[in-house]
Symmetry: none
Subunit: 217 residues, 4 copies
DNA sequence: CATTAAACGAGACGGTACGTCGCGTCTTAGC
DNA sequence: GCTAAGACGCGACGTACCGTCTCGTTTAATG
């Protein structure tokens, strides 16, 4: 995962910034499609830049010109996939919100069940696992991954939990950031490490445990 | 990784199992040492089987004979490291326990703070990140990783939480398995994804949140 | 993608012919030089493609791209050596001729003595033995060897013998091709098999025997 | 061909001569058979000592104990093949003679035609080509090859030619050794180098040319 | 007839080279 | 001047054999 990036990052002579305005949109799409389909078919480690270029009908240099690594290509491809999906789904707003029906437990269960469904969706599983793994090993990529892909989703929880706190449904002393992790991290844990199956029932259990606490009251 | 040829896995004649009784103990140790030191020095992606063999003074085939992949070598090396450390440390029992002072919150904080310290220990960080990432992408390796490295530790929590449940410190309806994940997963989440710093204070906050619950009482 | 292999040579799709116009002349020369010098220094069997590539400062793939085998490299290198030598020597014609002084026996002795000298020249001996041996075992290489290296020389004999026949110095019924082999093969025999020393005296004896015949007249 | 023999011939500590009286005859035969059949099936270069040992059902060490190289194994196997063939054919004498009917030309044609037949016999062709090629490159093996396999046959020609000389069928000044090579070398030349087809007609032509000489009389 | 030392089968070992794949750079045409 | 194509130097891959070195197990001559 995250094979060698630039071995000599110092020697870069003049940054060689290409002219983005002349960039071929057609090639970019083809590269995204090729990258995603290859990761799905042969897995991330066997997906190569040469392979992506060949399938995309693109010169290798076109990839090297615009992306620093295989992982970066995949990350952008994945982001693009999300955007296109969002565009297709919601005509207006480009971002979801966690529903607020007044019933915090129910709202969280709804969202976490949806998260479970997404995580086990075979179409997304391979690339997002690959990306996550690459980010775990490569801090730079990891930061980008978190910033662009993960953090926006987590902020939705922060927002909803803060609202709940104002409504008196969450204790005032609780840090919404910590609370969110109590909810989301267990799902991520099961998904990443495959310790036990990731199900709707588990999502519900996590919500109940987290809201009610382990200690007797 | 792995991926041995034979497009038809049915035709494999006898798996070519080598005779383990004649295995060279000396080579095994040398390979463990070489693998760990290389990962520490140049990082996991730049650690190669060729490099391990060279440093261990061993033929490449001796590695390929006994391990299916670089990750498998590192996993065993890591396990062996743990065993040796345990042997060196504890003269008697070869496994730790979570303390039971009667104060569940304090006990959990003690253990989770120790876990935090271990996770950010620079010596262990590189190889365990690499191993975790490899396990995320490769299910077989992941299963081995969980079974041999992760699950034994988690079972300690199950035991302690069950004791707490009997002592009336944890609500009867709670599944200890879920409870444990509420405690451990947030730390793992921060460590793996580097969303926010992993500190003792965070460990304490997780314990307090998880025990007390998010809802007001 | 890729998917080379296929043990069935029938299925080969297009032979993967590289683009010869973009070939690096510099690499070719370096490979010739490296191959010849290595064969001279360590002998043919210990000359490896890896070694040639290393000495030539060239990637192994560049050799595999243009030649099918070590022997093929050496054959071309040898041919090139001959061409360069010829260019350097003869300003005009690029091919020698067997002299025609009118005295057939003397002319043949001159040429065969020169052949003897060439065969025992230590610089040429190792590579030409190696090449000949390789050609004996590998028919394809052998055919190339004969066509490009041997046959042109033999045709010179055919020409000279035909001239002798017209001049009445050779019996009309004789096939020049057979006659030539009567002269050349004994030298080759001694050289290849090392049955007895290969000397000027032997060359002379062969010419006398072959011209005069064994039977009394 | 003629891959590496002993790289460090100096370091041999005490010659390690094994006890030949305890040698397993069964293994020797099996090794001969395996070597010959493998050379026939896959060719000499792809015949390996490991392969011979495996097919013969023999440990590798048993080969290394008794032979210095693959070529040496094959040479002995070939000699043994010849002996067995001779035993099977001639009940009495273990060596042939060139017939002496009084007609030298006819006798030579008979023998050379038989030689042609033997050389193109597919069963013998692969191993004898391989052996010859190995001997061309490796002088030690070549000497053994000539001494044990080639020279005995050539001596038959010497004997017959000397008899012819005494009978007045060959000029007195002729060296029988040179004469023999005039007859035999052209066949060897065509066989080894595959310049032109090796036929009975060619054998006849060689005899006629050699006896009658090229010059008009 | 039991003892015992060797040759034997098997195959693990440290190595070298194999031929292939993919990397990231560079060059050549073409649009 | 970006692009498709792909040759290049390089390095690692995983495999095949090399020749050496134990391991038990025959096996044949000796005590």
């Amino acid at each position: 995962m995250a094979e060698t990036r630039t071995p000599e990052p110092a020697a870069r002579p003049a940054a060689r910034t290409p002219d983005a305005t002349r960039r071929s949109e057609r090639s970019r799409r083809a590269i995204y499609d090729a990258a995603l389909s290859l990761v799905g078919e042969v897995g991330y480690p066997k997906t190569t830049i040469e392979g992506i270029a060949a399938r995309a009908g693109v010169g290798k240099q076109t990839i090297y010109r615009w992306w620093p690594s295989k992982a970066a290509v995949l990350l952008e491809a994945f982001l693009d996939l999300g955007e296109r999906a969002a565009e297709a789904a919601g005509a207006g707003g480009d971002s979801y919100e966690i529903p607020d029906t007044g019933d915090l437990a129910a709202d969280l269960k709804t969202v976490l069940r949806a998260t479970v469904d997404e995580l086990v969706d075979p179409q997304y599983e391979a690339p997002s696992r690959a990306l996550t793994a690459a980010g775990i090993v490569d801090p730079v990529l990891g930061a980008e991954f978190v910033e662009k892909l993960l953090e926006p989703s987590l902020q939705l929880y922060v927002k909803r939990l803060r609202a709940a706190q104002e409504a008196g449904d969450v204790r005032p002393g609780i840090d919404p950031r910590v609370a969110l992790e109590l909810l989301v991290a267990p799902l991520a844990h099961r998904w990443l490490l495959r310790t036990l199956p990731l199900t709707h029932a588990y999502a519900d259990a996590v919500v109940d445990c987290a809201l009610g606490g382990l200690s007797p009251r």
